[in-house]
């Protein structure tokens, strides 16, 4: 199908609930407390995260789609939601054993997982931690404003 010089993206949102604690062994107890405030409380706390994934690619004229949503949903379920939803990010996700599970780092980790999606190009991962805070990562590319 003729594209007319247009760039099309598909956006899909997913939700997961998880707990985390912001703490790094590289800082003292006092410094952790000063830097992370109540996010450093020892038993952690949780959020209802909203994950927004944007993909680009050619629209398949037979389906009208950049990627079949069933394939995308299954991929995100298998590579992100199964491991993250109703889990502790610090305890249950290996990537956060030594990395602080801020939502910045969460964006980067999820981008790394989803860029392997075979049917379209991953443009960006945006995560809303609360209705007031959101973070976006578009990969380590030139001209990336995230």
């Amino acid at each position: 199908m003729k594209n007319d010089g247009l760039h099309i993206e598909l956006g899909r949102r997913y939700r997961f609930a998880a707990s985390h604690r912001l703490h790094t062994p590289q800082l003292s107890e006092e410094e952790n407390c000063r830097v992370f405030g109540k996010c450093n409380n020892p038993y952690g706390h949780g959020h209802n995260y909203v994950l927004e994934v944007r993909l680009s690619g050619k629209i398949d004229p037979a389906t009208g789609m950049i990627a079949n949503l069933a394939d995308l949903d299954a991929f995100v379920e298998r590579h992100v939601l199964e491991e993250f939803d109703h889990h502790s990010l610090n305890e249950d996700v290996a990537a956060f054993r030594d990395t602080v599970p801020t939502t910045e780092n969460l964006c980067i980790e999820i981008f790394r997982r989803l860029e392997k999606f075979p049917h379209a190009r991953l443009e960006s991962v945006r995560i809303q931690e609360t209705v007031n805070n959101s973070f976006e990562y578009a990969g380590n590319t030139e001209g990336n404003h995230s």
């Binding site: 247009l6 993206e9 629209i59």
Partner: protein, 142 residues
């Protein structure tokens, strides 16, 4: 450069079916979106125009004018319509979010003469949308 966005909502029905595929293939690819009598959505359309504010009016373009363009080009064509049967611009295409967003871009782009159409974002539901940009102008933060 300033970006301004106007949002409108319309309701329409559609179904996904490719006559070149067998009934089983249609079912496998499109799932319940292939149900023969169609189904509907409340679509939300966000139209973003980029430009420099006019030094006298302070506006990139008059929002009333944009509202009229959206009413004429989108609402009258698509609101409370069946997208497969009543919108000629979509004839022969599967009316996915991606294709509808492209059609809306082509309808709006020539009509917006103050500022420049930057993005068309069409939500089919709060969790599914398509973005349409001119090539080379997309990217995070836009």
């Amino acid at each position: 450069m300033v970006h301004l966005t106007r949002k409108i909502e319309f309701s329409a029905s559609h179904l996904y079916h490719n006559p070149n595929l067998s009934a089983e293939e249609n079912r496998r690819i499109f799932g319940k979106c292939n149900n023969p009598h169609g189904h509907g959505h409340n679509y939300t359309l966000e139209v973003t125009v980029a430009g420099e504010p006019n030094p006298v009016t302070g506006m990139v373009l008059d929002l009333r004018e944009l509202k009229e363009i959206l009413e004429r080009e989108v609402m009258r064509r698509m609101d409370h319509r069946h997208l497969n049967y009543e919108v000629p611009e979509l004839a022969g295409q599967i009316p996915t979010c991606e294709n509808i967003a492209q059609v809306i871009w082509r309808l709006l782009d020539p009509k917006i003469t103050q500022g420049r159409l930057h993005r068309v974002r069409l939500y089919e539901s709060p969790d599914l949308f398509a973005d349409c940009y001119r090539n080379g102008t997309s990217g995070a933060g836009n």
